[in-house]
Symmetry: C2
Subunit: 156 residues, 2 copies
DNA sequence: GGTGAAAAGTTAGCTTT
DNA sequence: AAAGCTAACTTTTCACC
């Protein structure tokens, strides 16, 4: 549906601004893209309704909610049967600690992302969450030591 | 700074709502957390100024801007000297195609994330971007085939 | 796509608990 | 010290050009 929407230069300018500041007032946005507020609002609504803009969110500082770090973990399943995948995925969906989970190409792996409070919490995650997931053969954690770049926005 | 801010139950309720809808009107937010608009606004401003809320952003549908898929790539450098890391990181920062880059624990690796338009664009990325990065010894790409879960929000 | 006016939302000073 | 009240101000929204 939204994959077929044609975007012009102004639409892209709007998306660029809104990806930087999702709370930008329509009046200010209109000024930045050289449009009247009403014309600008019509475009924004169209972008929202067509699903080009999926969601507006507040990004919060992980440290402020006690999350000291993030880890990416690559997971290999024991069996690649539908039942095994389903069981694994259901467990992932049920775990609030797991923030992201992707089925990735390569050697039939999953990759998950989670945030931890401290070393103790990280250990808890490994023993209480990771090791409890069904069908896991191997897992390889990559703790984030430093962030060079992090973006929620796409280049336009 | 923001790591020391004490959050009470109402603050957490506010963050929970704003992580789901960053454009929620203050009046509506106030109602959901059972506060008057002015009291609610004071708390939101405090959360913003203390850096607990880092940013508001619009999340856009990758397909709508022509991005068919995402890939995570693990990168091993040839040498782990400061100069090598600096050269690599400078090149990463200069590449608009690379959305995220983390220095991760394990075998002295980096992990990067990028989005591609189609198979051709993916190949372009590998030959024009990945292979041009300095100091790269090995890289291992994990194409996202399916997303089981994806979240920008932290559980509160 | 722009204009203008009504409706809705924001915000700050002051009072109350 | 933090919440509520009120009222001025700003922004959104929409019928109409």
């Amino acid at each position: 549906m939204s994959s077929e929407v044609q975007l012009d230069t102004i639409d892209r300018a709007i998306l660029k601004e809104l990806q930087k500041d999702g709370r930008l007032a329509n009046q200010d946005l209109a000024q930045r893209v050289h449009l009247s507020p009403s014309a600008c609002l019509r475009r924004v609504k169209r972008l929202e309704e067509s699903g080009v803009i999926a969601q507006y969110v507040a990004l919060i500082n992980p440290k402020a909610v006690g999350k000291q770090g993030t880890s990416y973990t690559i997971i290999n399943l024991e069996r690649m049967t539908t039942a095994a995948l389903d069981a694994f995925e259901a467990a992932v969906l049920a775990s609030p600690d797991i923030l992201d989970c992707f089925y990735v190409a390569g050697s039939n792996d999953y990759m998950i992302r989670f945030a931890y409070k401290d070393a103790e919490d990280l250990e808890r995650f490994h023993t209480q969450v990771l090791m409890q997931l069904p069908e896991v053969a191997r897992s390889n954690s990559m703790l984030v030591l430093r962030t060079i770049k992090k973006s929620t926005a796409f280049p336009l």
